[in-house]
């Protein structure tokens, strides 16, 4: 769905960074190109699709407001992801969200509430319990299709650190799955 908000005046720049622009170079196409992967990535990292949605919206809005000077950004996509991740980590938002959950709990009298999270499969459970930095690195690398260099740029760490996070994430995912995998026939 076109946004009709502006024109991507910045020339295509592929200086080793993340591929950035769409075919026509407009802000619209930039959003269209990146919004799905961004929201999905933030959902996996934060385990909260709504927080992911909000954070992605805020990040795109920030980018829109500075679209005229987007040339100043070395890598707009990395900037976008970084801003969105910071938004996801904003404790004020998390605290505010907890307050809303409270209201629901008070209204229902329910003693336990389990948030909808990506706990559908064994892999999802394991993935959701990875330390945040490992989860972030793995998501950006596997889901957002970034190179380790690009992941490092987004996370603000060295490539070596990203490699370590990825290594540990892989190990955890594989070993945990081995540990809990059960043949279908044995399941009650």
């Amino acid at each position: 769905m076109p946004l009709a908000l502006g024109t991507w005046s910045r020339r295509q720049r592929h200086d080793g960074g993340v591929p950035t622009t769409g075919a026509n170079g407009s802000f619209d196409s930039f959003v269209q190109e990146h919004c799905t992967r961004l929201v999905q990535s933030l959902s996996l990292i934060s385990r909260d699709p709504e927080l992911a949605w909000d954070s992605a919206q805020d990040a795109f809005l920030k980018l829109y407001l500075r679209w005229d000077s987007v040339d100043d950004l070395r890598d707009p996509v990395a900037w976008l992801y970084r801003v969105a991740l910071n938004r996801c980590s904003d404790y004020r938002r998390i605290v505010a969200r907890a307050a809303r959950v409270t209201e629901r709990l008070k209204s229902t009298g329910t003693g336990m509430w389990v948030e909808p999270r990506l706990a559908h499969t064994e892999l999802a459970l394991v993935f959701g319990t990875l330390p945040r930095r490992q989860r972030t690195a793995a998501t950006l690398y596997y889901l957002a299709d970034m190179s380790t260099e690009e992941v490092a740029r987004v996370m603000g760490v060295s490539r070596g650190t990203v490699d370590r996070h990825l290594f540990r994430a892989r190990e955890a995912l594989r070993s945990s799955m081995e540990g809990h995998h059960e043949p279908a026939g044995k399941r009650p």
């Binding site: 269209q32 996996l44 919206q57 969200r97 959950v101 509430w113 909808p116 596997y142 060295s158």
Partner: protein
């Protein structure tokens, strides 16, 4: 479920975990926001440093206050730790920043190591289904994150931060003699010098999403600093006292976290899954069912008498008549031939039937449904490679035109055994956005 042995397989498996995104709704909502905020001249360039300083303090104080409140609640009358000490202090590591090389978990000692181990134990226990959080009763007070795993993330990050941070007078320059002296001290495991430029860059990173706050800075007001990790963190106060006497040093901060107390707190908030896990209040709530919608929610039709705890509850299979739709949910049953649930848990599914009785298109998603009960989490339609279940289509994200209906399966993961559960129905916003975890709930079946 096949184990992803290779990178491509792992990539595919992870991508299947990602939820669907309604791109049209996303663009529509963004378009509305952008239309209200036309790009204009940068106001920040007219700001003076004093104003900027005030803004920074206010923003950081807000972050700090939230943490203090939330953590204070968890720990009751105990002293409160402010995770943002580092961020509040110029030159210190910022929010979400990675620890420097060497600040790994392998080097933690004493109560720090115990807390790290406790965090890891809980993470692994949650994965295996052996540990259950008692968190929701705490979250019910409304001042801590509703996702306990997020708190583990923050605790983990705090463990990797320096034990002592010394801020230097500008006149001290790079303070090479002092750095050399400290490095030679016994008990100093690592020292990192943070220059004025590095400190400013960290601050910019922290405010990457609000760069206008810092745009007006004419000069770098932040001091250089020394970040010090000790082999024994309990010696931090002693070292801080020594450093305060040095002429190069302006101010010294130490980590004030009571790690042992946090170990006890985490133990208090978790219990093995084989303990009684009957949920307090769950049985009594079988006579209640629906939350009143907020003013942001679509209005309910007059045929739906649901407000607070006084409305009639819905039984399995009973139809809810809501504005523009009818929805019924069948009692969850175990998913045949579905593997992938962790030990002690089983995948179940409910058949849901949704009919668009309104005059506008209706977006329906599995993410609108949640399961409340002795579960490891409700899942809606996230993930899972299977597109059908027991002969039924698995609900993901569908768009119903007026008059159209869909009957599909929504999957959940619940603990094995006989225990009551509820299935809840969430709302979507007026922009068509699917709300999930923080939405109000329109109806429940039990």
């Amino acid at each position: 479920m096949n184990q992803p042995a290779s990178d491509p397989e792992l990539r595919d498996a992870i991508r299947k975990l990602a939820p669907g995104v309604d791109t049209s709704a996303f663009c529509r909502e963004l378009g509305e926001k952008c239309a209200k905020k036309k790009p204009g001249p940068k106001r920040g360039r007219r700001l003076r440093p004093l104003v900027i300083g005030v803004a920074v303090v206010v923003v950081l104080a807000g972050v700090s206050a939230g943490l203090v409140t939330g953590l204070g609640f968890l720990r009751g009358p105990q002293p409160v730790i402010v995770f943002t000490d580092a961020t509040l202090s110029p030159g210190a590591a910022g929010r979400g920043s990675s620890g420097p090389v060497g600040s790994s978990a392998d080097t933690l000692t004493g109560a720090k190591a115990e807390l790290w181990a406790e965090i890891e134990r809980i993470r692994q226990g949650v994965v295996s289904g052996e540990v259950i959080f008692d968190w929701p009763s705490e979250a019910a007070q409304g001042i801590i994150p509703s996702d306990p795993l997020l708190m583990l993330d923050y605790l983990e990050q705090s463990l990797l931060r320096p034990d002592v941070t010394a801020y230097l007078h500008d006149s001290a320059g790079d303070a090479v003699p002092l750095r050399t002296e400290i490095s030679a001290m016994s008990g100093v495991r690592m020292l990192e010098f943070v220059s004025k430029d590095d400190a400013l860059q960290r601050l910019k990173d922290d405010f990457a999403d609000s760069p206008e706050i810092l745009e007006g800075l004419q000069e770098n007001p932040l001091p250089a600093g020394l970040e010090i990790w000790l082999t024994d963190y309990t010696q931090a106060a002693s070292l801080a006292d020594q450093l305060r006497d040095r002429p190069e040093v302006d101010e010294v901060h130490i980590a004030t976290m009571d790690y042992a107390d946090w170990v006890a707190t985490l133990q208090r908030l978790t219990h093995p899954s084989d303990e009684t896990s009957q949920l307090p209040g769950l049985e009594t709530t079988r006579t209640t069912y629906v939350v009143a919608p907020t003013t942001d929610d679509p209005p309910l039709s007059s045929t739906t008498t649901i407000m607070g705890n006084v409305g009639p509850r819905l039984s399995w299979g009973q139809e809810a008549v809501l504005d523009g739709r009818t929805i019924k949910v069948e009692q969850p049953v175990e998913a045949p031939d579905e593997t992938g649930a962790p030990s002690g848990f089983v995948l179940v599914y409910s058949l849901v039937t949704i009919t668009n009785t309104g005059s506008e298109p209706l977006t329906c998603a599995a993410a609108q449904f949640g399961l409340d009960g002795n579960s490891s989490g409700s899942t809606g339609g996230f993930g899972g490679p299977a597109k059908t279940l027991a002969g039924h289509e698995v609900l993901d994200l569908v768009r119903l035109q007026p008059g159209e209906s869909v009957k599909a399966a929504v999957r959940f993961c619940v603990k094995q055994g006989d225990h009551p559960v509820k299935v809840w129905l969430g709302t979507r916003s007026s922009t068509g956005r699917i709300q999930s975890s923080t939405s109000e709930w329109l109806a429940s079946w039990q």
